[in-house]
């Protein structure tokens, strides 16, 4: 941790010194963001409280005419307190780490061509956000040529906290995930290429995302490399309706060859004149190892994610359907409610329906620098699918102040 903190301090000093040397001190923008997230959850007689407090110091400054640097350092306190069935706690009094640290820029190469880049600890995700979604150390470049955007990215996961990049691809990853001594995510090298064609079909974009992860932990039980091809289409039908459809094919080697499939769709109805009404219906599916044999296996994304907010159903070998609605009854206030149902394949004759979830959410921004959020929900499992499962619930509140 000390080494990490020292590196961070050195980096921030470097950024400030660079700004001063570049004569851009007058343009430096900086601030402090304070946030608190508290979460009370229960289920099956259990009751626990989770709390995370962050203080993020950030700085932003232009570098030349076509690029800028954004750097942030985050202090975090986190605590997990289990009250029932017996009290225990797990408190991390402090962690200091780099938040988003990014050098980004864009230059025009000609009247119809531009090159953008982003380097540092940057947000990376695939088109759907279901294959990869994390703040990782790496770089991206984007070449815009008319209506086409070609992109490429590379990243490394080994310096990211494992909570921030939940990689659960093979047995080694699962061991590391459950090992309290393991702080960082499994070491993987990520690479990506992508193509997006903007409105080549009227009001619609087409594209293809390609991602690959290479397992650098060669000392473990398994070395698992996977690649993903993800075609997508998204667009507008009239003013009010937006839709998107994507699919993902996973190819892997461990060292045997295997593959998996996933897909998703979303339709959104937007009616700004009706108190900002927005209704979203979505469905995502991640394939499973249906016959227990052969090359097809359960789809494993690079970073794991859950199907819904309360239930712990992971996005692998499962299907989720959801309907959400939100309105803006007053300026700065957004109210939302949603429901979701989770399913799994019933290849063994077991019930496919896993349960139903209801959620509610209120966001309030009394001022541009203050955000308050209250949300809650419950998941009612299908007793026939899991007789031991009980109703799970969650209530959360968060507050963010930007200074």
């Amino acid at each position: 941790m000390k080494r990490h903190t020292t590196s961070l301090a050195a980096f921030i000093c470097f950024v400030v010194a660079s700004a001063l040397c570049a004569g851009n001190a007058y343009a430096v923008d900086f601030g402090l963001t304070l946030s608190n997230d508290s979460e009370l959850s229960g289920g099956g007689g259990g009751l626990s409280l989770s709390q995370v407090d962050d203080a993020a110091l950030w700085l932003s400054l232009p570098i030349g005419a076509s690029s800028s640097i954004y750097a942030s350092a985050v202090y975090e306190f986190s605590g997990d307190f289990t009250y029932l069935p017996s009290y225990s706690d797990s408190v991390r009094w402090y962690s200091i780490t780099a938040g988003r640290v990014e050098w980004e820029g864009f230059v025009g190469l000609s009247d119809s061509m531009g090159l953008g880049w982003s380097v540092g600890r940057i947000p990376l995700q695939d088109y759907s956000g279901r294959v990869l979604n994390g703040l990782l150390d790496g770089a991206t470049v984007r070449l815009s040529v008319g209506q086409a955007v070609v992109s490429a990215a590379a990243a490394y996961t080994g310096l990211t906290f494992k909570d921030d990049a939940p990689i659960l691809i093979d047995a080694d990853d699962e061991s590391a995930w459950s090992d309290d001594d393991a702080i960082f995510a499994p070491r993987r090298l990520l690479a990506s290429v992508g193509l997006r064609l903007v409105e080549v079909v009227p009001f619609h974009d087409l594209g293809l995302d390609g991602w690959a992860q290479f397992d650098l932990d060669t000392a473990g039980e398994a070395v698992t490399n996977t690649q993903y091809a993800e075609p997508f289409i998204e667009g507008r039908v009239a003013r009010a309706i937006r839709w998107r459809l994507w699919g993902a094919a996973e190819f892997g080697q461990d060292p045997g060859l295997f593959y998996g499939m996933a897909a998703g769709a979303r339709v959104r109805l937007t009616a700004p004149e009706l108190a900002g009404l927005r209704v979203t219906a979505s469905c995502v599916w991640a394939g499973g190892d249906y016959d227990g044999d052969g090359a097809m296996r359960a789809f494993k994304p690079i970073t794991a994610g859950s199907l819904s907010s309360v239930a712990g159903t992971m996005f692998t070998d499962a299907l989720g359907a959801s309907l959400d609605a939100s309105v803006v009854p007053a300026r700065g206030l957004t109210l939302g409610a949603g429901c979701a149902a989770n399913f799994r394949p019933n290849v063994d004759g077991e019930p496919a329906y896993l349960g139903f979830e209801l959620t509610g959410r209120a966001d309030y921004k009394p001022a541009g620098d203050v955000t308050l959020t209250v949300e809650g929900g419950c998941f009612a499992p299908n007793g026939a699918a899991d007789p031991e499962a009980s109703v799970e619930w969650l209530a959360a509140a968060s507050a963010t102040l930007r200074l």
């Binding site: 988003r100 864009f106 061509m113 956000g129 279901r130 209506q147 921030d164 003013r239 937007t270």
Partner: protein, 227 residues
């Protein structure tokens, strides 16, 4: 003899063209707050309702000040802290052509099509040009809010998207034009942060990363051309 005929013909064409393409003036219709203008080669003077502003005039508005100009068949609301130059206002047989140069600030344009007389309306800026026909829109050089009609929003390096009535789009720092979001035009670009939030939430993936990512502030330039 031949030279004389050609010269005569050229003069006739020039005279006819001049007669057909008459230069119009803009007229000050409404004023709120402090508004000044500078006629070509002259000093600044306060604007009054009814003032006629010829080609080359520079209009300047102060804090909380606006001025409504009638420019040919169109109207332009010059928003606070804006400096605008009237480059060209022509009426010809082929229609009305208007060119404005937005040095700084924001304008709201209402371009009214006329039967049998096309209207070409352009707002240029140091980094962008807005050119519309039969459209109402608000534009600040990066963010575009279309109230009615349709506009083609073009980034400096080629990417274009159609933005239709009741939609908002902007050019992101990476040079791309964001997918237009359906929004309420009420409030205009005064609430640009909310509009950007809405546009971003429309294009955002369903799986959220948490609070570590900040929405980037757009700084790129745009060109808007006629649909």
């Amino acid at each position: 003899m031949m030279k004389r005929c050609i010269l005569t013909a050229a003069m006739l064409v020039a005279v006819a063209s001049a007669a057909m393409a008459a230069t119009l003036n803009a007229t000050v219709v409404e004023i709120a707050g402090k508004v000044e203008y500078q006629l070509p080669g002259k000093g600044w003077k306060p604007a009054k309702v009814g003032d006629s502003l010829p080609k080359g005039t520079i209009v300047s508005t102060g804090f909380k000040s606006t001025v409504l100009l009638k420019v040919g068949p169109s109207t332009v609301t010059v928003k606070p802290i804006t400096r605008l130059s009237l480059e060209e206002i022509l009426q010809s047989e082929s229609g009305t052509q208007t060119q404005l140069f937005l040095m700084a600030g924001r304008v709201k344009a209402e371009v009214t099509p006329q039967a049998g007389s096309p209207v070409e309306f352009q707002v240029k800026s140091p980094t962008a040009t807005a050119s519309v026909r039969g459209t109402g829109f608000e534009f600040d050089g990066t963010n575009l809010l279309v109230e009615h009609g349709a506009v083609q929003l073009r980034a400096p390096h080629g990417m274009t998207r159609y933005v239709r009535n009741g939609e908002f789009s902007y050019v992101a720092t990476n040079g791309s034009v964001t997918s237009p979001a359906a929004v309420s035009p009420e409030g205009g670009l005064e609430r640009v942060d909310e509009l950007i939030d809405q546009a971003d939430s429309d294009s955002r993936v369903d799986v959220q990363l948490g609070g570590a990512i900040d929405v980037t502030t757009p700084t790129a330039t745009v060109i808007i051309t006629i649909q």
